[in-house]
């Protein structure tokens, strides 16, 4: 099973758990195929169901001639909490393209020096293929941490590090519930002295490229894609937005030479003298590949509160946990 699929499965569980907490279990969600082709968009995508996941098919084939790049605006209409699996960097990286993906998401993050949720975790992903080495795969949220880490800390009953979040009053907090109950995540960089304004800049860039450019709902107006999240009071566009880009390597430099240099880059950075007390430098994509190899054999580690949740969900829906 690919990490993407597992991530979707985890999201499922998270949503089911939320349903459970509210004393009901979520209905299986139907992928929404409606697309609005208006607003002057030049390239659109249509939705298609792929098992329990959701896939975009580009309605109009886009080819990349020499010296050109393509950017596709994609808009979801009437988002209903469906799961989205558009892009798997470890698959796309096999093609001779540098792929770039960004997505806006429901508000969870405060802008720098803001005291309330205004932005999604607005991730950036880009991958570069090597020749003999596995690809460099960059894929991260532009917040100081992932919301999931706040939830795990809450279930563990532990505090969160200073720099992750503010509470409902906008004051920095080390309590998971401080963030969960009306607080906000901080942008990458966290504090003024560690350049939290740069994380806000990144989130702003993703927000404008994904949403303003495609005519989708930006910033605090992005519709929720999990159950029981706040519905924005105002709509400034259509659904949530994405931004995809692909660069044809041959338009810049010989493709084999590029891949050979990427191999050299990877080996050079792997050989960096380590910071004492750490495992040293790992290439973006390495931790995920290692985790996949390990968990395919040894399974996914779960903490006790999650196991109890899964057992409870199993009892309600009549599925035995652990089979």
């Amino acid at each position: 099973m690919r990490p993407q699929a597992r991530r979707a499965a985890e999201a499922d569980l998270a949503e089911a758990r939320m349903g459970l907490a509210g004393a009901y279990v979520a209905e299986p969600k139907q992928a929404d195929k409606k697309m609005d082709l208006g607003r002057g968009l030049q390239a659109v995508a249509a939705g298609g169901e792929v098992g329990e996941l959701f896939r975009y098919d580009i309605a109009m084939p886009v080819t990349l001639p020499r010296r050109q790049s393509a950017m596709l605006p994609i808009v979801n209409q009437e988002v209903k909490g469906q799961k989205v699996s558009i892009y798997n960097p470890s698959v796309h990286a096999k093609h001779p393209l540098n792929g770039l993906r960004m997505t806006n998401s429901t508000k969870l993050v405060a802008p720098f020096h803001g005291g309330e949720r205004m932005l999604g975790t607005n991730p950036i992903a880009i991958a570069f293929p090597g020749l003999e080495e596995p690809p460099i795969v960059i894929d991260f949220a532009t917040s100081a941490t992932a919301y999931g880490k706040i939830e795990i800390a809450k279930r563990r009953g532990s505090k969160i590090p200073s720099g992750w979040a503010v509470d409902a009053s906008g004051t920095p907090t080390e309590q998971p519930d401080g963030m969960i109950q009306g607080g906000a995540l901080l942008p990458l960089g966290s504090f003024a002295e560690l350049s939290g304004h740069k994380g806000f800049c990144l989130a702003a860039m993703v927000d404008v490229l994904c949403c303003v450019l495609s005519g989708a709902n930006w910033g605090p107006f992005a519709p929720p894609f999990a159950l029981r999240q706040e519905i924005p009071a105002r709509s400034v566009g259509q659904g949530i937005g994405h931004f995809f880009g692909a660069l044809r390597i041959e338009a810049f430099i010989d493709e084999t030479e590029f891949k050979r240099q990427i191999d050299d880059w990877i080996r050079t950075f792997r050989a960096t003298r380590p910071m004492p007390g750490t495992e040293g430098v790992r290439i973006p994509g390495d931790p995920e590949r290692e985790a996949e190899a390990d968990r395919s054999v040894n399974g996914i580690p779960l903490i006790e509160p999650v196991i109890r949740d899964l057992e409870e969900i199993g009892r309600i829906i009549g599925a035995k946990f652990g089979t």
Copy 2:
């Protein structure tokens, strides 16, 4: 005088000071016009002198038809510490394009969990035009802080915050000299728990797009562009590299509608409830515009050690300070 020009002038002073410390004063540097058109590059730029600055002229005009974007690889050959002023976001933002610029630079930054300099401060800049509001101008180094802030702390005789740098042994340091004497800056995010790996991802992205894609020297092999910096032992390409991109807004959405939405975005984010004890949210580009307006009237604040340096340089070269 534009901020870009002032920044160049400041770099001049910094270089002159470095020369002074080494008991000689730097000769005025000549911009280098040599370009190598080889290595399969499809678009190249030629250098031209503009007063004391250096300008790139695109050798082959590049037009952007509907639905297309252009990416230009630019390589410097035999970089000799010349000053470079390629892109002024506050000027470019007037055109109906979203401009993107990245540049690699001499090694100063450790990769995440690395204990030595391997990357430049590898900045990212992108600007979005508004209709009535001034443009959103994003422009930042992907390190936790700028090298200049380490130098200022040294001249002030003050410590630096935890999270800015490691010393020559790769151990986190709060002493400016710890970083300056063979240490390294940390990437944006600084520590594992504040996602320092994300700053490394950003620096890696800039490094590959600017250098590997253009056939320039990447990572620790970028040649120095200030005096008396270490010459890399190995060359993996030509000079330093840049990456420029421009997106034609009309290819995605009506241009006036885009700009109106940018105005709305700016006003919405300005109205964010502030974090207590801060001045609240400012839009990327606001602080620079405010500083320019203030300093055009009130001058540039200097600390005592810098004034003494300038007076000493003035005595050596026969120019009176303060005229």
